[in-house]
Protein backbone atom coordinates (compact mmCIF):
# COMPACT_ATOMS: atom_id res chain seq x y z
CA UNK A 1 0.00 0.00 0.00
CA UNK A 2 2.78 2.41 0.95
CA UNK A 3 4.66 1.55 -2.25
CA UNK A 4 1.47 2.19 -4.22
CA UNK A 5 1.14 5.56 -2.52
CA UNK A 6 4.63 6.64 -3.63
CA UNK A 7 4.12 5.13 -7.09
CA UNK A 8 0.95 7.11 -7.54
CA UNK A 9 2.59 10.27 -6.16
CA UNK A 10 5.53 10.10 -8.57
CA UNK A 11 3.50 8.47 -11.36
CA UNK A 12 6.34 6.08 -12.19
CA UNK A 13 4.06 3.64 -14.04
CA UNK A 14 2.59 6.18 -16.45
CA UNK A 15 3.84 6.73 -19.97
CA UNK A 16 5.03 10.26 -20.72
CA UNK A 17 2.77 12.44 -22.85
CA UNK A 18 3.08 15.67 -24.79
CA UNK A 19 0.53 17.31 -22.53
CA UNK A 20 2.61 16.50 -19.49
CA UNK A 21 5.77 18.03 -20.98
CA UNK A 22 3.94 21.19 -22.02
CA UNK A 23 2.10 21.57 -18.71
CA UNK A 24 5.31 21.10 -16.75
CA UNK A 25 7.14 23.83 -18.62
CA UNK A 26 4.19 26.21 -18.19
CA UNK A 27 4.27 25.47 -14.46
CA UNK A 28 8.03 26.03 -14.34
CA UNK A 29 7.57 29.35 -16.16
CA UNK A 30 5.00 30.36 -13.54
CA UNK A 31 7.47 29.60 -10.72
CA UNK A 32 10.30 31.53 -12.40
CA UNK A 33 8.04 34.54 -13.08
CA UNK A 34 7.12 34.73 -9.39
CA UNK A 35 10.73 34.28 -8.30
CA UNK A 36 11.61 37.30 -10.47
CA UNK A 37 8.61 39.23 -9.16
CA UNK A 38 9.59 38.71 -5.52
CA UNK A 39 13.27 39.38 -6.27
CA UNK A 40 12.51 42.80 -7.75
CA UNK A 41 9.69 43.65 -5.34
CA UNK A 42 11.86 42.96 -2.30
CA UNK A 43 15.15 44.24 -3.73
CA UNK A 44 14.29 47.98 -3.45
CA UNK A 45 12.28 47.42 -0.24
CA UNK A 46 15.29 45.94 1.55
CA UNK A 47 17.14 49.22 0.94
CA UNK A 48 14.58 50.98 3.20
CA UNK A 49 15.36 48.69 6.14
CA UNK A 50 17.68 49.99 8.80
CA UNK A 51 17.84 47.29 11.44
CA UNK A 52 17.32 43.55 11.91
CA UNK A 53 14.49 43.15 14.43
CA UNK A 54 13.77 39.45 13.99
CA UNK A 55 16.45 37.30 12.35
CA UNK A 56 14.90 34.44 10.39
CA UNK A 57 16.56 31.44 8.77
CA UNK A 58 20.20 32.02 7.89
CA UNK A 59 19.97 35.52 9.42
CA UNK A 60 20.22 33.84 12.82
CA UNK A 61 23.82 32.94 11.95
CA UNK A 62 24.86 35.71 9.56
CA UNK A 63 24.30 39.45 10.05
CA UNK A 64 22.25 40.29 6.95
CA UNK A 65 22.33 44.05 7.54
CA UNK A 66 24.95 44.26 4.75
CA UNK A 67 21.98 43.76 2.40
CA UNK A 68 20.40 47.06 3.51
CA UNK A 69 22.98 49.42 2.01
CA UNK A 70 24.86 50.13 -1.24
CA UNK A 71 22.15 48.47 -3.37
CA UNK A 72 23.40 45.00 -2.39
CA UNK A 73 19.82 43.71 -2.37
CA UNK A 74 19.38 44.96 -5.94
CA UNK A 75 22.53 43.12 -6.96
CA UNK A 76 21.12 40.03 -5.23
CA UNK A 77 17.85 40.46 -7.15
CA UNK A 78 19.89 40.59 -10.35
CA UNK A 79 21.79 37.42 -9.45
CA UNK A 80 18.55 35.63 -8.53
CA UNK A 81 17.12 36.62 -11.91
CA UNK A 82 20.17 35.45 -13.84
CA UNK A 83 20.37 32.06 -12.13
CA UNK A 84 16.57 31.53 -12.31
CA UNK A 85 16.70 32.16 -16.07
CA UNK A 86 19.75 29.89 -16.32
CA UNK A 87 17.71 27.19 -14.61
CA UNK A 88 14.74 27.71 -16.88
CA UNK A 89 16.84 27.55 -20.04
CA UNK A 90 18.97 24.71 -18.64
CA UNK A 91 22.24 26.60 -18.50
CA UNK A 92 24.35 25.05 -15.69
CA UNK A 93 21.29 22.86 -15.13
CA UNK A 94 22.59 20.95 -12.14
CA UNK A 95 23.31 23.99 -9.98
CA UNK A 96 21.43 27.02 -11.30
CA UNK A 97 18.18 26.55 -9.35
CA UNK A 98 20.09 25.52 -6.21
CA UNK A 99 22.07 28.78 -6.37
CA UNK A 100 18.81 30.68 -7.04
CA UNK A 101 17.27 29.07 -3.95
CA UNK A 102 20.22 30.04 -1.74
CA UNK A 103 20.16 33.65 -2.95
CA UNK A 104 16.37 33.76 -2.66
CA UNK A 105 16.59 32.57 0.96
CA UNK A 106 19.01 35.42 1.70
CA UNK A 107 16.61 37.82 -0.02
CA UNK A 108 13.66 36.53 2.03
CA UNK A 109 15.40 36.74 5.41
CA UNK A 110 16.58 40.26 4.58
CA UNK A 111 13.15 41.44 3.45
CA UNK A 112 11.41 39.92 6.47
CA UNK A 113 13.93 40.94 9.10
CA UNK A 114 11.59 43.54 10.57
CA UNK A 115 9.47 41.06 12.51
CA UNK A 116 6.82 39.93 10.07
CA UNK A 117 6.86 36.24 9.19
CA UNK A 118 5.35 36.12 5.73
CA UNK A 119 4.17 32.85 4.20
CA UNK A 120 3.14 34.35 0.86
CA UNK A 121 6.25 33.11 -0.93
CA UNK A 122 6.65 29.72 0.79
CA UNK A 123 4.97 27.70 -1.94
CA UNK A 124 7.05 29.38 -4.64
CA UNK A 125 10.13 28.62 -2.52
CA UNK A 126 9.06 24.98 -2.12
CA UNK A 127 8.45 24.72 -5.86
CA UNK A 128 11.89 26.19 -6.54
CA UNK A 129 13.39 23.66 -4.12
CA UNK A 130 11.58 20.84 -5.97
CA UNK A 131 12.95 22.07 -9.31
CA UNK A 132 16.43 22.47 -7.85
CA UNK A 133 16.47 18.93 -6.42
CA UNK A 134 15.00 17.50 -9.63
CA UNK A 135 17.67 19.11 -11.79
CA UNK A 136 20.41 18.10 -9.38
CA UNK A 137 19.42 14.46 -8.91
CA UNK A 138 17.69 13.68 -12.22
CA UNK A 139 19.84 15.76 -14.51
CA UNK A 140 19.87 13.14 -17.27
CA UNK A 141 16.16 12.37 -17.62
CA UNK A 142 13.51 15.06 -18.25
CA UNK A 143 10.54 12.76 -17.60
CA UNK A 144 11.79 11.56 -14.22
CA UNK A 145 12.66 15.14 -13.39
CA UNK A 146 9.10 16.27 -14.11
CA UNK A 147 7.55 13.39 -12.18
CA UNK A 148 9.77 13.97 -9.17
CA UNK A 149 9.12 17.73 -9.14
CA UNK A 150 5.36 17.38 -9.21
CA UNK A 151 5.26 14.49 -6.70
CA UNK A 152 7.51 16.41 -4.31
CA UNK A 153 5.32 19.51 -4.59
CA UNK A 154 2.07 17.56 -4.09
CA UNK A 155 3.57 15.95 -1.00
CA UNK A 156 4.80 19.14 0.66
CA UNK A 157 1.79 21.26 -0.32
CA UNK A 158 -0.58 18.68 1.16
CA UNK A 159 1.57 18.44 4.26
CA UNK A 160 1.71 22.24 4.56
CA UNK A 161 -2.06 22.72 4.55
CA UNK A 162 -2.66 19.86 6.98
CA UNK A 163 0.09 21.25 9.20
CA UNK A 164 -1.68 24.64 9.18
CA UNK A 165 -4.88 22.98 10.44
CA UNK A 166 -3.01 20.98 13.08
CA UNK A 167 -1.26 24.18 14.25
CA UNK A 168 -4.70 25.75 14.76
CA UNK A 169 -5.99 22.76 16.69
CA UNK A 170 -2.88 22.75 18.89
CA UNK A 171 -2.76 26.55 19.24
CA UNK A 172 -6.43 27.01 20.13
CA UNK A 173 -8.24 23.68 20.15
CA UNK A 174 -11.62 22.68 18.82
CA UNK A 175 -13.06 26.12 19.62
CA UNK A 176 -10.85 27.68 16.91
CA UNK A 177 -13.78 28.27 14.52
CA UNK A 178 -15.85 30.33 17.03
CA UNK A 179 -17.33 33.37 15.30
CA UNK A 180 -16.01 35.91 17.80
CA UNK A 181 -12.48 34.96 16.74
CA UNK A 182 -13.29 36.15 13.24
CA UNK A 183 -14.70 39.37 14.72
CA UNK A 184 -11.36 40.00 16.42
CA UNK A 185 -9.46 39.31 13.19
CA UNK A 186 -11.76 41.61 11.22
CA UNK A 187 -11.02 44.33 13.80
CA UNK A 188 -7.30 43.62 13.35
CA UNK A 189 -7.59 43.81 9.60
CA UNK A 190 -9.56 47.06 9.87
CA UNK A 191 -6.46 48.60 11.47
CA UNK A 192 -4.16 47.04 8.88
CA UNK A 193 -6.23 48.20 5.93
CA UNK A 194 -6.58 51.72 7.41
CA UNK A 195 -2.85 51.80 7.97
CA UNK A 196 -2.10 50.60 4.43
CA UNK A 197 -4.61 52.65 2.47
CA UNK A 198 -5.67 55.46 4.83
CA UNK A 199 -9.22 54.17 5.40
CA UNK A 200 -11.30 51.03 5.93
CA UNK A 201 -14.89 50.27 4.98
CA UNK A 202 -16.20 46.77 5.74
CA UNK A 203 -17.51 44.85 2.72
CA UNK A 204 -20.95 43.19 2.67
CA UNK A 205 -19.61 39.80 3.79
CA UNK A 206 -17.75 41.34 6.71
CA UNK A 207 -20.91 43.18 7.72
CA UNK A 208 -22.92 39.93 7.65
CA UNK A 209 -20.28 38.15 9.71
CA UNK A 210 -20.23 41.00 12.23
CA UNK A 211 -24.04 40.88 12.38
CA UNK A 212 -24.47 37.09 12.55
CA UNK A 213 -21.86 35.28 14.58
CA UNK A 214 -22.80 31.85 13.20
CA UNK A 215 -21.72 32.96 9.70
CA UNK A 216 -18.25 33.60 11.08
CA UNK A 217 -18.25 30.19 12.76
CA UNK A 218 -19.33 28.49 9.52
CA UNK A 219 -16.69 30.32 7.52
CA UNK A 220 -13.88 29.41 9.94
CA UNK A 221 -15.08 25.79 10.23
CA UNK A 222 -15.00 25.43 6.45
CA UNK A 223 -11.46 26.83 6.32
CA UNK A 224 -10.23 24.53 9.07
CA UNK A 225 -11.75 21.42 7.47
CA UNK A 226 -10.41 22.32 4.02
CA UNK A 227 -6.91 22.80 5.45
CA UNK A 228 -7.09 19.65 7.55
CA UNK A 229 -7.80 17.57 4.46
CA UNK A 230 -4.89 19.17 2.60
CA UNK A 231 -3.20 15.77 2.52
CA UNK A 232 -5.78 14.74 -0.11
CA UNK A 233 -3.47 16.63 -2.46
CA UNK A 234 -1.31 13.51 -2.38
CA UNK A 235 -3.85 11.48 -4.36
CA UNK A 236 -4.59 11.88 -8.03
CA UNK A 237 -8.33 11.29 -7.66
CA UNK A 238 -8.96 13.68 -4.77
CA UNK A 239 -6.55 16.43 -5.86
CA UNK A 240 -8.99 18.54 -7.95
CA UNK A 241 -11.59 18.48 -5.16
CA UNK A 242 -9.23 19.53 -2.39
CA UNK A 243 -7.66 22.14 -4.70
CA UNK A 244 -11.14 23.59 -5.28
CA UNK A 245 -11.90 23.59 -1.54
CA UNK A 246 -8.59 25.29 -0.76
CA UNK A 247 -9.11 27.92 -3.47
CA UNK A 248 -12.56 28.58 -1.97
CA UNK A 249 -10.92 28.84 1.46
CA UNK A 250 -8.41 31.40 0.16
CA UNK A 251 -11.23 33.47 -1.37
CA UNK A 252 -13.03 33.21 1.99
CA UNK A 253 -9.94 34.61 3.73
CA UNK A 254 -9.87 37.43 1.19
CA UNK A 255 -13.53 38.39 1.60
CA UNK A 256 -13.58 38.15 5.39
CA UNK A 257 -10.10 39.42 6.23
CA UNK A 258 -8.83 41.32 3.15
CA UNK A 259 -5.84 39.01 2.85
CA UNK A 260 -5.20 37.79 -0.67
CA UNK A 261 -2.91 34.77 -1.03
CA UNK A 262 -3.06 35.20 -4.79
CA UNK A 263 0.04 33.19 -5.63
CA UNK A 264 -1.36 30.21 -3.69
CA UNK A 265 -4.56 30.40 -5.74
CA UNK A 266 -2.64 30.57 -9.04
CA UNK A 267 -0.45 27.66 -8.08
CA UNK A 268 -3.40 25.56 -6.91
CA UNK A 269 -5.10 26.30 -10.21
CA UNK A 270 -2.04 25.21 -12.19
CA UNK A 271 -1.17 22.03 -10.30
CA UNK A 272 -4.48 21.01 -8.76
CA UNK A 273 -6.24 19.91 -11.93
CA UNK A 274 -5.39 17.29 -14.57
CA UNK A 275 -4.35 19.83 -17.21
CA UNK A 276 -1.84 17.46 -18.87
CA UNK A 277 -4.58 14.90 -19.49
CA UNK A 278 -6.94 17.60 -20.79
CA UNK A 279 -4.26 18.95 -23.14
CA UNK A 280 -3.68 15.43 -24.51
CA UNK A 281 -7.40 14.85 -24.87
CA UNK A 282 -8.58 18.11 -26.37
CA UNK A 283 -5.61 19.82 -28.02
CA UNK A 284 -3.91 18.45 -31.08
CA UNK A 285 -0.40 19.75 -30.58
CA UNK A 286 0.68 18.64 -34.07
CA UNK A 287 -2.02 20.44 -36.04
CA UNK A 288 -1.93 23.85 -34.38
CA UNK A 289 1.34 25.59 -35.38
CA UNK A 290 1.52 27.80 -32.28
CA UNK A 291 0.92 24.88 -29.93
CA UNK A 292 3.35 22.72 -31.90
CA UNK A 293 6.02 25.41 -31.62
CA UNK A 294 5.35 25.86 -27.88
CA UNK A 295 5.58 22.12 -27.36
CA UNK A 296 8.87 21.88 -29.31
CA UNK A 297 10.23 24.72 -27.23
CA UNK A 298 9.14 23.08 -23.98
CA UNK A 299 10.89 19.86 -25.03
CA UNK A 300 14.03 21.75 -25.99
CA UNK A 301 14.28 23.15 -22.44
CA UNK A 302 12.64 20.19 -20.67
Amino acid sequence: MIVNFWKSLFETDKNPTKGEALHFKIFELFVVIFVLKYAWQWGPYIQQIGEVVLPLGIAQYVDVSFMFEHNISLINAGLISIFALFGFFRVLPKYSYLITLGLFHLHYVSRFSLGEISHGSNFIGTSLLALALALFFFNDDPVRRQRFTMGFIFFFFGLGYTSAAVSKLIGTGLTWPSGEHLWLWIAERSVDVSSSTGSFTPNAIQEWVLEYKFLGTLSLAFGLIAEFFGFLFWFDKTRPYIATALIAMHFGVYFTMNIMFDVYIYELLIIGYPWARLIDQYLDLDKNPILAKTYDWSVKFA
Partner: protein, 161 residues
Amino acid sequence: MERRNSLTKSIKITLVTLIIYGLLVATHLGEFWPFSIYPMFSQAGNPWKRAIVQEINRAEIDSLWKTTDKNGLPGKTVALNELNVNTNDIANYLSKTEVWTPKKQSGVRKLLQKKLLKQSNLLVYQARGSLSDNDEPKLEFVPYFYFSADTTISNPDLRTE
Protein backbone atom coordinates in the same frame (compact mmCIF):
# COMPACT_ATOMS: atom_id res chain seq x y z
CA MET B 1 14.18 -1.82 -13.07
CA GLU B 2 14.96 1.72 -14.11
CA ARG B 3 11.51 2.83 -13.00
CA ARG B 4 11.99 1.18 -9.63
CA ASN B 5 15.37 2.87 -9.14
CA SER B 6 13.82 6.18 -10.04
CA LEU B 7 11.01 5.62 -7.56
CA THR B 8 13.40 4.62 -4.76
CA LYS B 9 15.53 7.68 -5.45
CA SER B 10 12.47 9.98 -5.45
CA ILE B 11 11.26 8.52 -2.14
CA LYS B 12 14.69 8.86 -0.55
CA ILE B 13 15.10 12.51 -1.60
CA THR B 14 11.58 13.34 -0.38
CA LEU B 15 12.06 11.61 2.98
CA VAL B 16 15.50 13.14 3.56
CA THR B 17 14.00 16.56 2.74
CA LEU B 18 11.17 15.81 5.18
CA ILE B 19 13.68 15.02 7.93
CA ILE B 20 15.69 18.19 7.20
CA TYR B 21 12.39 20.14 7.09
CA GLY B 22 11.41 18.72 10.50
CA LEU B 23 14.80 19.42 12.07
CA LEU B 24 14.94 22.98 10.74
CA VAL B 25 11.43 23.98 11.83
CA ALA B 26 11.86 22.22 15.19
CA THR B 27 15.02 24.20 15.93
CA HIS B 28 13.93 27.55 14.44
CA LEU B 29 10.53 28.16 16.08
CA GLY B 30 8.59 26.64 13.20
CA GLU B 31 10.09 28.74 10.40
CA PHE B 32 13.01 28.22 8.07
CA TRP B 33 11.97 29.53 4.66
CA PRO B 34 10.67 27.91 2.55
CA PHE B 35 9.88 25.40 5.31
CA SER B 36 7.19 26.25 7.84
CA ILE B 37 4.65 24.65 10.12
CA TYR B 38 2.26 27.36 8.82
CA PRO B 39 1.14 28.64 12.23
CA MET B 40 -0.68 31.73 10.90
CA PHE B 41 -3.96 32.44 12.75
CA SER B 42 -3.35 29.43 14.99
CA GLN B 43 -3.97 31.35 18.21
CA ALA B 44 -7.56 32.48 17.84
CA GLY B 45 -9.01 35.00 20.27
CA ASN B 46 -5.61 36.14 21.54
CA PRO B 47 -4.90 39.86 21.88
CA TRP B 48 -3.01 41.36 18.95
CA LYS B 49 -0.84 44.41 18.27
CA ARG B 50 -0.73 46.35 15.02
CA ALA B 51 0.40 49.84 14.01
CA ILE B 52 -0.97 52.98 12.46
CA VAL B 53 0.69 56.27 11.58
CA GLN B 54 -1.14 59.60 11.87
CA GLU B 55 -0.10 62.82 10.21
CA ILE B 56 -0.77 65.71 12.55
CA ASN B 57 -0.71 69.42 11.82
CA ARG B 58 0.96 70.75 14.91
CA ALA B 59 2.88 68.91 17.55
CA GLU B 60 1.18 69.32 20.89
CA ILE B 61 4.05 67.71 22.76
CA ASP B 62 2.35 67.60 26.16
CA SER B 63 -0.78 65.91 24.89
CA LEU B 64 0.98 63.48 22.54
CA TRP B 65 1.13 60.43 24.76
CA LYS B 66 -2.55 59.84 25.35
CA THR B 67 -3.90 56.35 24.73
CA THR B 68 -7.09 56.65 22.71
CA ASP B 69 -9.72 54.77 20.76
CA LYS B 70 -10.11 54.87 16.99
CA ASN B 71 -12.33 57.95 17.00
CA GLY B 72 -9.83 59.82 19.16
CA LEU B 73 -6.90 59.44 16.73
CA PRO B 74 -5.60 62.90 15.84
CA GLY B 75 -4.95 64.09 12.28
CA LYS B 76 -5.13 61.97 9.18
CA THR B 77 -4.08 58.33 8.78
CA VAL B 78 -1.01 57.94 6.56
CA ALA B 79 -1.52 55.41 3.76
CA LEU B 80 1.68 53.40 4.14
CA ASN B 81 1.20 51.74 0.75
CA GLU B 82 1.90 55.11 -0.83
CA LEU B 83 5.29 55.12 0.88
CA ASN B 84 5.93 51.54 -0.30
CA VAL B 85 6.01 50.46 3.35
CA ASN B 86 4.18 47.37 4.52
CA THR B 87 2.14 48.05 7.66
CA ASN B 88 3.09 44.59 9.00
CA ASP B 89 6.70 45.73 9.16
CA ILE B 90 5.95 48.74 11.37
CA ALA B 91 3.55 46.69 13.51
CA ASN B 92 6.08 43.95 14.10
CA TYR B 93 8.90 46.41 14.57
CA LEU B 94 6.97 48.05 17.41
CA SER B 95 5.78 44.84 19.02
CA LYS B 96 9.05 42.91 18.82
CA THR B 97 11.38 45.67 20.01
CA GLU B 98 11.83 45.69 23.77
CA VAL B 99 14.56 48.29 24.26
CA TRP B 100 14.39 51.33 22.00
CA THR B 101 18.02 52.12 21.29
CA PRO B 102 18.72 55.17 19.07
CA LYS B 103 19.44 52.72 16.21
CA LYS B 104 16.07 51.01 16.64
CA GLN B 105 14.32 54.39 16.68
CA SER B 106 16.10 55.50 13.54
CA GLY B 107 15.01 52.22 11.92
CA VAL B 108 11.37 53.33 12.26
CA ARG B 109 12.30 56.79 10.98
CA LYS B 110 13.98 55.25 7.93
CA LEU B 111 10.77 53.45 7.00
CA LEU B 112 8.86 56.74 7.13
CA GLN B 113 11.61 58.80 5.53
CA LYS B 114 9.67 59.64 2.36
CA LYS B 115 6.95 61.31 4.43
CA LEU B 116 9.37 63.06 6.77
CA LEU B 117 11.24 64.57 3.84
CA LYS B 118 7.98 66.40 3.03
CA GLN B 119 8.10 68.14 6.42
CA SER B 120 5.27 66.04 7.88
CA ASN B 121 4.69 65.60 11.61
CA LEU B 122 3.96 61.96 12.29
CA LEU B 123 2.63 60.14 15.31
CA VAL B 124 3.22 56.38 15.30
CA TYR B 125 0.68 54.39 17.28
CA GLN B 126 0.53 50.80 18.37
CA ALA B 127 -3.03 49.45 18.01
CA ARG B 128 -3.96 46.85 20.60
CA GLY B 129 -6.97 44.62 20.15
CA SER B 130 -8.59 42.04 22.40
CA LEU B 131 -11.93 40.44 23.12
CA SER B 132 -13.92 42.05 25.94
CA ASP B 133 -15.73 40.02 28.59
CA ASN B 134 -18.81 39.89 26.37
CA ASP B 135 -16.75 38.67 23.37
CA GLU B 136 -16.80 42.03 21.55
CA PRO B 137 -13.54 43.28 19.99
CA LYS B 138 -12.08 46.30 21.79
CA LEU B 139 -9.31 48.48 20.40
CA GLU B 140 -6.94 51.01 21.92
CA PHE B 141 -4.19 53.06 20.33
CA VAL B 142 -0.98 53.73 22.25
CA PRO B 143 1.33 56.46 20.92
CA TYR B 144 4.97 55.36 20.52
CA PHE B 145 6.84 58.02 18.58
CA TYR B 146 6.55 61.56 17.36
CA PHE B 147 8.63 62.24 14.26
CA SER B 148 9.21 65.45 12.35
CA ALA B 149 11.91 66.30 9.81
CA ASP B 150 14.47 66.99 12.53
CA THR B 151 12.92 65.59 15.71
CA THR B 152 12.35 62.20 17.25
CA ILE B 153 10.51 61.95 20.57
CA SER B 154 9.56 58.63 22.10
CA ASN B 155 6.79 57.93 24.57
CA PRO B 156 8.37 58.26 28.04
CA ASP B 157 6.86 54.89 28.99
CA LEU B 158 9.01 53.05 26.43
CA ARG B 159 12.26 51.42 27.51
CA THR B 160 15.06 53.41 25.93
CA GLU B 161 18.85 53.37 26.15
